[in-house]
């Protein structure tokens, strides 16, 4: 148990020191990553990119029936 805790502590310290001593370019890059992830998950995913089948149907059976309908009745609109 003590060994595991010590290992976790070492890993934590390794990452902690790495981030603390990170050069300016690294901090800048992390800022870009955080902004990007925020835009992707908090804006785009929630407001613009719902999973349509999950949102519109309650069960996999309903989703399957919907796609089955689409496959049967839809005609190619790419003409």
């Amino acid at each position: 148990m003590g060994f595991i805790l010590k290992s976790f502590n070492n890993i934590f310290q390794f990452y902690g020191n790495g981030f603390k001593t990170m050069p300016a370019w690294g901090r800048k890059v992390w800022l870009v990553i955080l902004i990007k992830l925020f835009i992707m998950f908090a804006v785009l995913r929630i407001f613009f990119f719902p999973d349509l089948l999950k949102k519109n149907f309650d069960s996999d059976e309903e989703r399957g029936m919907h796609v089955l309908d689409e496959l049967i009745i839809k005609t190619d609109t790419d003409d």
Binding site: W25, W30, L68, L71, D78
Partner: protein
């Protein structure tokens, strides 16, 4: 003016996917190749114990880190689009996509994310052996991550290892190994990762050439050019070889795409390979919108040799594939349309029986979908049931033709550049070759262009299919309003452009700083 262009929902959805995929792909290949260049440089450091190699490795690692960080997770946007814009397709592909992408997620997260931290934070904190093992694992992890998405993409080119279940309206994986070792997947994986290796080596030689032009960091630049040129030369040879095997596989599983790559309308024995050509509309063209090659450089008989290993072998042309040829045993598109319609009618019968709750009839019809003969003779042409006329199975020939030939020409140019860089490095004259420095520098965007052209051949050459022969693009798209897709198209354009500007500006600053300023 873009607002005057009447693009349909399908076209806007395609444009959006193309935009995000192309932007995503601007970040990926450098990661694939530069990671292995770092492995070589760090190995040199460990073998020689020279601090110069350590400094060189750390410099390129910094650029790798910037590119990795900006590009990481941009691929997730494509998955958002699957669920929103391509929901029918997403559902239809079932676990064929789910399984490889799940493996990719696990590998990407655990291997790359864990060991990339050791790569950056672990200098002087872990042993040299553990550090280089981490660099190796990042390189292998990055490339294996690419494997899984390429396996999924290859399945779209050549759907194998699955069976369609009408009960769930999904394709279910029957044989994981058949999906993984799909010949298209094997070729695609090696061709794609080696294209990343070539891109990265030209990136390294180009930036190093800039240092030579500025008369700075001479030793680091020369060492870097040598490593990158040797690595890049071998990678380009493999790239060309895998390009050849890819084309041969395409000739078997996507013959219309192959014929479009060569603008071959009439099938021929002793078919010549176009090194390059100029296409023009044919005067008496029928509904195929046929093109003539008005000027060409051709190697006689070579296309037959490269495709089937025999000069006298027949290479099918677009007309043979559209109208069929009894003599050559090629089924016409009209026949495939009829067979596709039979498969779709069976699906309709199944659905109606299910709605009427006739369980016996449902079981009988379901059993037909599980029958191998039905799968091979009818269901494999399911997508043809949506095709209005045979000529619709032909992609945009000029786009595919020019993209393919320009990509190939660039590939051979890269080989020449890498071999020259290697030779000039060995004979010690590279420092004096100022013109060559400029050529290396201004060539940095070229492998990016070649890479995008390769994807254009892959994706545009597959049209009208999203899944070869099974599903046309128009059927895959979700019922959304066009304005919604337009909005997100521009949002993505803005986001990715901002990311690209961020990458280029941070990277340019660090290149200008060079390896000396470590902590800035």
């Amino acid at each position: 003016m873009i607002e005057n262009i009447d693009l349909s929902l399908v076209d806007w959805s395609r444009a959006q996917f193309a935009l995000t995929a192309i932007y995503h792909w601007l970040f990926v290949p450098l990661t694939l190749g530069l990671s292995f260049i770092l492995v070589i440089m760090e190995t040199k450091y460990i073998r020689t114990g020279s601090e110069k190699w350590k400094k060189t490795t750390k410099f390129w690692m910094k650029l790798f880190g910037i590119n990795f960080a900006i590009g990481v997770s941009t691929g997730l946007i494509l998955e958002f689009e699957f669920g929103t814009n391509w929901s029918n397709y997403s559902w239809f592909v079932g676990d064929i996509f789910g399984a490889p992408l799940a493996v990719e997620g696990i590998l990407a997260f655990f291997m790359e994310s864990t060991f990339i931290a050791v790569m950056f934070f672990g200098w002087d904190k872990v042993s040299k052996r553990f550090h280089i093992a981490s660099t190796w694992l990042v390189a292998i992890g990055a490339n294996l991550s690419a494997l899984w998405i390429l396996v999924a993409n290859a399945w779209m080119e050549n759907p194998v290892g699955m069976i369609f279940n009408p009960e769930t309206a999904r394709n279910e994986m029957m044989n994981f190994w058949e999906v993984l070792f799909n010949p298209v997947a094997v070729d695609k994986f090696f061709h794609t990762i080696t294209s990343g290796f070539v891109l990265a080596s030209l990136f390294v030689t180009g930036i190093s050439a800039w240092f030579l032009i500025r008369n700075r960091e001479k030793e680091m630049a020369l060492n870097s050019i040598k490593v990158a040129a040797i690595f890049g030369s071998f990678a380009t040879v493999v790239l060309i070889f895998t390009g050849d095997t890819s084309a041969r596989t395409i000739a078997k599983v996507q013959p219309v795409k192959f014929a479009a790559m060569e603008a071959l309308y009439e099938g021929q024995t002793n078919a010549g390979l176009n090194v390059f050509g100029i296409l023009a509309d044919k005067d008496d063209s029928d509904d195929l919108d046929e093109k003539d090659i008005i000027a060409r450089i051709e190697i006689p008989g070579f296309l037959s040799v490269m495709t089937h290993g025999d000069r006298d072998s027949f290479v099918a042309g677009i007309k043979d594939l559209v109208y069929g040829s009894e003599e050559k045993g090629i089924m016409s598109a009209s026949e495939k349309i009829e067979r596709g319609k039979i498969a779709r009618q069976l699906l309709l019968d199944y659905k109606e029986a299910r709605t009427r709750d006739e369980s016996e009839e449902v079981d009988i019809l379901k059993a037909r979908f599980e029958d191998n003969d039905f799968q091979d003779e009818y269901f494999r042409y399911f997508g043809y049931s949506y095709i209005n006329k045979p000529a619709d199975i032909v992609p945009n020939v000029p786009l595919v033709f020019y993209s393919f030939h320009l990509m190939v020409a660039l590939g051979f140019l890269f080989l020449l550049m890498q071999l020259l860089a290697w030779y000039f490095s060995v004979d010690g004259t590279i420092v004096k070759r100022k013109v060559f420095h400029w050529i290396l520098l201004i060539s940095i965007p070229l492998p990016y262009l070649a890479s995008v052209l390769g994807w254009l051949v892959t994706e545009m050459g597959r049209q009208p299919w999203i899944i070869q022969d099974l599903m046309p693009v128009g059927i895959a798209v979700s019922n959304l309003s066009t304005s919604t897709v337009q909005t997100t198209f521009w949002l993505f354009a803005a986001l990715f452009t901002a990311l690209l500007i961020a990458e280029v500006s941070i990277m340019t600053r660090q290149i200008k700083n060079g390896p000396k300023i470590e902590e800035e």
